[in-house]
């Protein structure tokens, strides 16, 4: 029965809305043994076990792209009605929020309560917050598994998510505390780039893939 679990290869859909380097996320998931589809067709999302919303770029442009491809309503339906786990990465995490003030005021996907604001730092700190920074983990399971406080991940961002402290899964410190990961039920988001954070990053993605393989496979064991 363990074998059955091992052999179950989760099927992950990466939502392609034309922003950023999607290939690296795709490669990382293939390496973890998933089957992966990178697509902007809603039917591919409904067939998948879990969704990943990647992204680098500006919030407004991302929302405009999501709207142009008519993706907002299908993503909300897949997550809310069908209970599919979703992981937002970087801009993808910020898009989970209700609103953003980046270059105007924009509405996000409203899957996590919160808003996106510019990082506010003194002159000694450079923006964007870029490089490897350490985490302080608030919700260990399921996303962080065996990872520990002090493990470093690769960040690159100028805006941050402000949300309910109940939903914060990890923080990092750049002069003040910044939300590094959120979790609200089966909606996950990471501000850093696990696909570019070497083995610790792959470990985090594997933990998410295990969530995608989910209760169904665990129930069988």
């Amino acid at each position: 029965m363990v074998r059955e679990r091992l052999m179950r290869r989760p099927h992950i859909a990466i939502i392609d809305y034309g922003m950023g380097n999607i290939r690296s996320v795709h490669n990382a998931l293939l390496r973890l043994g998933c089957t992966v589809v990178t697509s902007f067709r809603p039917e591919d999302m409904f067939e998948a076990d879990a969704l990943i919303l990647p992204g680098v770029g500006a919030f407004g442009e991302a929302v405009a792209n999501l709207k142009a491809r008519e993706l907002i309503e299908p993503i909300q339906r897949a997550v809310r009605d069908e209970g599919k786990p979703l992981l937002g990465i970087c801009l993808g995490m910020q898009l989970l929020a209700e609103t953003s003030e980046e270059g105007g005021v924009f509405e996000g996907l409203s899957l996590v309560r919160g808003e996106v604001r510019r990082i506010n730092v003194s002159a000694n700190f450079r923006i964007p917050h870029m490089g490897w920074n350490t985490l302080s983990i608030k919700k260990q399971q399921p996303l962080f598994g065996q990872l520990a406080d002090g493990d470093a991940f690769y960040f690159v961002h100028s805006y941050q998510l402000i949300c309910d402290s109940d939903d914060v899964a990890a923080t990092t410190t750049y002069e003040s505390d910044i939300v590094a990961a959120v979790q609200h039920n089966h909606v996950f988001g990471v501000q850093f780039h696990p696909e570019r954070s070497q083995r610790k990053g792959l470990e985090l993605l594997r933990n998410f893939v295990d969530v995608a393989a989910g209760p169904a496979s665990q129930a069988k064991c």
């Binding site: 380097n21 290939r23 990382a28 490089g131 690769y154 954070s197 070497q198």
Partner: protein
């Protein structure tokens, strides 16, 4: 805490990784896939991949090679070589790059920096600046693989790049390239003081102990090297072990940390002394008995 970064620069010439000496002589290393796989496993923080043949071909970086290589890269990847417009940036990113590096075409047409930053964000634009110390003692920026003087000083050009929206400056010294003398800390310090964006020090590393000076003495945010990482097992881990020993905060996840180990003048790991080996053996045996 934000860690300091160690960057491996990989120079690609005619689809082979090479070592570079003074921007003039090149020594082939081999196919690009293996150096990338190695340094990624050995805790490097970023890779800068420069396609030196791209300008000669009159194209941007080789996308087919890049697509293949990005499969093995689980750290941020910056790619440069002959990039001249936003379309080439888009293709390079589609093929697997996270950031692009511009040099000659940014100098020829500075608005290029702003154009890329507007579409992809400042964090995506790294401007590579090759500098040479003239006989007068003044530094000058060169383009076209170090062959054409620009008439601008490094501080002047780096400041302009930052104002136009560059996210980082990759600062290389033509004189130090392949010299193994260590970083030109005067040059790096002058530029790092003049701009608010991160400066990556490059050029001249000949020993693993040289890395720390780029950060401690010169004030760079990241240190890069190329030649030293080849032909040595665990090269990037050695580099980080030296940086940690000098008090520089870098990420070292690897099991092998080489804490307290010594290296010879060529950077080769020295064997432990016979006494030390005896101690380790005695420790091991007493633990096995217990």
């Amino acid at each position: 805490m934000l860690k300091k970064r160690l960057i491996a620069t990989l120079l690609v010439r005619d689809r082979l990784i090479v070592q570079s000496f003074g921007f003039k002589k090149y020594l082939p290393i081999g196919r690009p896939r293996f150096p990338i796989e190695f340094v990624v496993r050995w805790d490097v923080d970023e890779i800068v991949l420069l396609d030196m043949s791209a300008s000669k071909r009159g194209t941007g970086p080789d996308e087919a090679v890049l697509e293949m290589l990005s499969q093995y890269c689980y750290v941020p990847l910056t790619v440069g070589g002959g990039i001249r417009d936003v379309d080439e940036v888009r293709r390079t990113i589609r093929a697997g790059a996270d950031k692009v590096c511009v040099n000659t075409h940014a100098m020829a047409r500075p608005p290029l920096i702003t154009e890329i930053a507007t579409v992809f964000g400042s964090q995506c634009v790294v401007v590579s600046i090759d500098c040479k110390r003239e006989n007068s003692g003044e530094y000058q920026v060169y383009t076209d693989s170090g062959s054409r003087p620009s008439g601008k000083s490094p501080v002047e050009w780096a400041t302009e790049c930052a104002d136009r929206g560059a996210g980082e400056i990759f600062l290389n010294s033509i004189d130090r390239d392949g010299s193994r003398e260590g970083y030109d800390t005067a040059l790096i310090g002058a530029v790092a003081n003049a701009v608010k964006i991160p400066v990556i020090a490059c050029g001249g590393v000949g020993h693993f102990k040289h890395f720390a000076a780029g950060i401690v003495e010169a004030g760079a945010s990241a240190v890069a090297a190329a030649n030293i990482f080849h032909h040595v097992e665990h090269s990037t881990i050695f580099a980080k072990a030296h940086m940690l020993a000098s008090g520089v905060d870098v990420r070292l996840d690897s099991v092998a940390k080489y804490r307290g180990r010594e290296f010879d003048d060529d950077g080769r790991l020295l064997m432990l002394s016979a006494e030390r080996l005896d101690d380790i053996e005695a420790n091991h045996l007493s633990r096995a008995d217990g």
